[in-house]
């Protein structure tokens, strides 16, 4: 069975470590915040200028001056800090964020990512995604393995305009957890009930089955 969005978030959350500063993109990455293990502390960075993002506010706490990068009203966690957009992207570009999780339309065997633009359709813009992928060393891309029509999103070459070049090393799809190195996808884990053959058939880019490949554990 393909993972649900919630299960994908749960698997990503296993990559969190105590003391991590983490930037979560919009969509599935945002859900990761719900699965932070109880025994660790992480601090969420929101690129509009907040480190230490808290949960949504109650009606009483609602504050138009306190939003996240998705423009949702939020609160501040204990120990939070506020800063300008330039400072925020100094953190991001300067490699100070420990883990970045974001969505994509496509990734390829060279670690290229396309996530912001489908030519011919409305172009809304890259927001902070280009800075995030350029600045972070530890990035996990979350996306479905294939389109609704069964077209692979793990390619030998991205077909859409790139968000970043040679920058993605890890991809979690609804079917698999993969590493990108030496111009190939390496299958590390398969989702429970998903066959390696199925993953192979939906991966257009070259796929290597890791010697230590195992079934994914979802709590």
């Amino acid at each position: 069975m393909a993972l649900t969005r919630e299960q994908m978030a749960q698997r990503v959350a296993q990559e969190l470590a105590d003391g991590y500063y983490v930037n979560l993109g919009i969509g599935i990455p945002t859900l990761v915040a719900n699965y932070v293990p109880d025994d660790i502390d992480v601090m969420l960075q929101s690129e509009n200028g907040l480190l230490g993002m808290g949960e949504f506010p109650t009606e009483e706490e609602l504050d138009a001056d306190l939003i996240n990068a998705g423009k949702q009203t939020v609160t501040m966690a204990t120990g939070a800090s506020i800063f300008s957009s330039a400072e925020s992207f100094a953190m991001i570009r300067g490699g100070h964020v420990d883990l970045t999780v974001l969505g994509a339309f496509e990734v390829d065997v060279n670690g290229n990512i396309a996530s912001y633009m489908i030519p011919g359709k409305l172009i809304k813009g890259m927001g902070g995604a280009m800075d995030l992928v350029a600045g972070a060393d530890n990035i996990i891309v979350t996306m479905t393995h294939a389109s609704k029509h069964g077209e692979s999103k793990l390619l030998s070459n991205c077909s859409l305009p790139l968000t970043g070049k040679n920058c993605i090393k890890k991809v979690l799809t609804d079917l698999a957890y993969l590493e990108i190195k030496e111009g190939k996808f390496h299958l590390l884990e398969y989702a429970p009930g998903v066959s390696i053959e199925q993953i192979q058939s939906l991966t257009e880019g070259e796929l290597v089955i890791s010697d230590n490949v195992r079934e994914m554990k979802i709590a």
């Binding site: 509009n48 949702q72 009203t73 957009s85 330039a86 902070g128 350029a134």
Partner: protein, 234 residues
Amino acid sequence: MSGFNKVVTSYQAAMAGLTDNMTVIAGGFGLCGIPENLIEEIKRKGTKGLTIVSNNCGVDDFGLGRLLSDHQIAKIVASYVGENAEFERQMMSGELEVELTPQGTLAEKMRAGGAGIPAFYTATGYGTPVGEGKEQRSFNGRDYILEESIRGDFAIVKAWKADTYGNLVYRKTARNFNPMAATAGKITVAEVEEIVEPGMLDPDQIHTPGIYVDRVIQGTFEKRIEQRTVRASL
């Protein structure tokens, strides 16, 4: 003493000197921390052919989106746009020129512009459409593109408090692009919720020193919320 008094009492005076085809840098992220009344004054004035530099372009009936209906904006430099129908229509029809700029690059373009730095190298956008046609250079084995800084004829910002000297303090994430925008205008106008006497703001807590600010006006704000997300009270 009065030479440092930046306070103006009408929006007309606040935006005096803005003329057609100028470049206006605006602070704000989404609808948070936007100079909503200064934007409204630009609408009232009817200034046309403007180049707007701002992370976003408001929504149909609020913020910079208000300048679209009368075609006051010729070009926008932004990282994320299209939350409104009229924007989409004008962009698709070619009436509105859009220069998509990565968010961090946009912030740095303003910061560098205000700091007298004409351009800077960044890895952001290398190998993507953003890097096309830009100078490339490698440092320590990594590839970068040269991005030019931005200055505006006007910068319009929203702060929480000001003193009459134009020292500014922002509140929570309404800070966002405002501090950089404030440095990058030939004329910088700040609208604020409260103006106090010099000495009332703690010098250690001032985010934008008054040297960057030419005019200050006290306004009342709607502060519209774009995505109202709440959790149940206990």
